[in-house]
């Protein structure tokens, strides 16, 4: 698996898309920091970018890579390699190269800005960790979509729909549900609703840092336990890991059954 990872990774590192992605983050980081000169504002803007853009790029890139590397995959399949190692290797190759672009692209400008001397470093590390998780999750979801759909166009369609659903539509439905059932105790429901969507989950994780003052304004005991203690942080991370593991397991499972 590590060999496949290595080849996928270097293959991607050489493709211009990785550079575009890297350059985009680099530019974003520089613009936010050096033109705006406001670290707190930069972190807030970055959060918005990360929870919206990272999933989008993860899905699109994952699907694209999968379809484009069909030949490579077939070449590998004829070699004495386990299917799970081929697909996990490719998956990790994509996910890691995307994460690298993200971490380096955003990290470098922040390091040059003198992040290590600032106490925003924790907020910022959290952003990068969340971004990495989102990349892992959405690349895995993209691989699932691609594995299940031979048709490229269909695969892309589903990928974009998935993103649209999790990034926007889900929250709309979520909001409606909460407002409709406002007469009932909702704190459990709202926390569960958050857990079921990796984008919401990541957003909550960042809210814990940026908006803790507002979150503690709500009365519910479960809310209070969740946001007031490290409980929320731990649960959120566990859920993020679950969100990585489940799609990855499905990749392994699906890959075993698939014909090429």
């Amino acid at each position: 698996m590590l060999k496949i990872l290595k080849y996928s990774f270097f293959d991607l590192m050489r493709s211009r898309w990785s550079y575009v992605y890297f350059a985009f983050y680099l530019l974003l980081g520089i613009v936010l920091l050096f033109l705006n000169n406001d670290l707190s504002k930069a972190v807030i803007t970055l959060m918005n970018v990360i929870i919206v853009l990272v999933p989008l790029i993860g899905t699109i890139f994952g699907v694209m890579y999968f379809y484009n590397s069909k030949e490579f995959t077939e070449l590998l399949l004829a070699q004495p390699l386990k299917r799970s190692s081929i697909f996990l290797g490719q998956y990790l190759g994509v996910a890691l190269s995307l994460s690298m672009s993200l971490i380096l692209g955003l990290g470098l400008p922040f390091v040059f800005y003198g992040l290590f001397k600032s106490n925003t470093i924790w907020d910022f590390s959290l952003l990068l960790i969340t971004g990495t998780f989102l990349t892992l999750i959405f690349t895995a979801l993209a691989f699932n979509i691609a594995l299940s759909n031979e048709n490229k166009i269909k695969g892309f369609g589903y990928a974009i729909l998935l993103w649209l659903f999790l990034a926007i539509i889900y929250d709309g439905i979520f909001l409606m549900t909460l407002v409709l059932f406002e007469d009932y105790p909702l704190d459990k429901l709202s926390l569960i609703g958050t857990m079921l969507n990796p984008i919401d989950l990541s957003r909550t994780l960042i809210l814990l840092k940026l908006d803790i003052s507002a979150l503690l304004g709500y009365t519910g005991a479960i809310f209070k336990q969740f946001f007031g203690t490290s409980f929320g942080l731990i649960i959120s991370f566990i859920m993020l890991i679950v969100w990585v593991v489940l799609p990855v397991l499905r990749i392994v499972f699906k890959a075993k059954k698939k014909d090429f």
Binding site: S40, K41, I168, E182, L186, S190, T194, D200, A214
Partner: protein
Amino acid sequence: MKCFLQHSVFLILVFTSYIGFSQTINVCEDCSISSIKSAIKQAKNYDTIVIKKGTYKEYNIVIDKPLTIIGKNYPVIDGELKGEVITIISNNVTVDGLFVINVGTSYTEDYAAIRVRRSKHFVIKNIVLEKLFFGIYIEKSSYGKIYHNKIIGDAIEEYNSGNGIQLWYSNHIEIEHNYVEHVRDGIYLEFSDDCLIKNNVSAENLRYGLHFMFSNDDVYQDNTFENNGAGVAVMFSKKIKMLNNIFKENWGTASYGMLLKEINDAEIIGNTFEENTIGINIEGSNRITYKNNNFTNNGWAIKVRGACYANRFLENNFLYNSFDISYNSKVNDNVFDKNYWSNYTGYDLDKNGVGDIPYRPVKLFSYIVNRTPETIILLRSLFIDLIDFSEKVSPVFTPDNLMDNNPLIKKITW
């Protein structure tokens, strides 16, 4: 005539001290006078009692004549939880440098470490209070000074704990450089006018760091209120000046940097509100000027709960608050002008430092959260940004005249 009388009293005092009746009475554990009570009994008016280092197990010490009581190296006065420790009922009393502990707790009487009753021109300074019920209790007194005291309580529940410094029907009191923590209300004023509260730190108190009721024309400035149960409450008072205070980290459901209720004609200038669940909670308060305040990282910078008219918010910085302003009605009679809003996304094409499009500080989402508090979990979601944007374009739920027509492009410094 009066002047002559005073002078002659002074001369007599000097004379009597000179011929053997000492003006200074020393108290120590193995002196001839080993209790404070007996020292007071023996003292003449305007004598000085010096208490040497040691532990004095006494309570109900009544100071009924103008005396100066000075502790050397913080002698401990242990009330043994039996009742009030020191009660001042005379004018011109100074108490300095004592360490008072173990004040009695009662549900019927407000025992205090030091109480001043119907007296003028008192000075209470350099006192350390621990294990107390009420700390310094000023009752129907005036022209006193309370400074450099340290009050450290161990209050756990509101119903059986007292306040650090309490003023009741007292005027012209100066409270400066005190440090109060872990009591019910750090500083409490009721029916007390023309007082100055300056440079105090009030932290970790169960209820309010500072609490005003029915007190007018007071000034509080340069104080720090941090991590109190519910922040600072200013209620039913007029013409209060609140200047350069810091309100920090007051977190919780009913918690705010400052609560204003029925406050008229106040000035709130140069304060910093940082990381509070609600920066300022305003109810029924009119004609208040908010100027040059910093609202940083609060849940809600300002929450307006109706019946607030003719308030002016000028040249404040609103930085990274989850919500800048929240309103619960569609009517607005308040003015927002020339503030800096970090959430402002407009532009300044003519480069005059003022944004070319107005800023609407009230978001639709803040209404939704008011209605269904659980929705707070959707804060900063893309969907919420979208509906906020559409509300911004055509306001339906938010007051359409509520905007800052001159939002500044750069953070204000003063």
